[in-house]
Symmetry: C2
Subunit: 157 residues, 2 copies
Amino acid sequence: MITIGPSRPEDATPILRMAAAEPLFTAEEAECVEELLRDYFGRPDHNGYFFLTAWLEGKAAGFACYGPTALTRGTYDLYWIAVDRSFSRRGVGRALIARVEASVRERSGRLLVVETSGTAAYADTRAFYEGLGYERAATVPEFYGPGDDLVIYIRRL
Amino acid sequence: MITIGPSRPEDATPILRMAAAEPLFTAEEAECVEELLRDYFGRPDHNGYFFLTAWLEGKAAGFACYGPTALTRGTYDLYWIAVDRSFSRRGVGRALIARVEASVRERSGRLLVVETSGTAAYADTRAFYEGLGYERAATVPEFYGPGDDLVIYIRRL
């Protein structure tokens, strides 16, 4: 039974552990999660972000970070999502996405945007969003680096 | 004769005046320029941004703001560019873009990304980038708001 709730200060340690352990995240990306998390807990307005933690069998099994996209009306970005690999294929990612979508809808969001990579390493990630019915809206060639395209998925809510 | 240089603290007033007067910028967008400009002058690392001011006939005629895109290798974003309407069609925008591109190249940037709107109000803006040879790489429908697509232009440097 997966349970999901807003991340609490005591979730910081497992979230940072999962970010550091996630093979797809570079060290720079894991540091970016850390910085967002510090701002999230350190500022009364959470710096405009939301963090969710997923729990399974009494352990932190995944997290997601999302928030409204600046200078848009009703668009939200899913900034980070990761699932502890020891809980792979148990529906944690899917449950996190469902909760993010519900939360964005509650806040009158109309569009959820996910930016990911076009490399082979991210094939499972892209298949995950496509399986959930996300629309592959755009590709920006070589955005992340040589040979590393940006792929933008969207879901209209 | 257009001259362009890094913006100095005394340029803040004309830059904010131009941002506020630019009909295409919403009040929220003009405030965003103000916030970036405050960080730019207030922090020793300029918060990772660069501002340029263009001068013509002894007056501030335009400005541009750009910087490296987080979590990419060699990609830069052109965040803001505006030209005082009383200096329209005198090559100020074109000169600013050329200077931004040269600066990005000097910093070993390989890609310059411009995000703009797909609305009719931005038709001249899109024609401007297309005329400069920018590649229309992607469109994200309804990104900025209902009926207001994001259009992403890129230039490989």
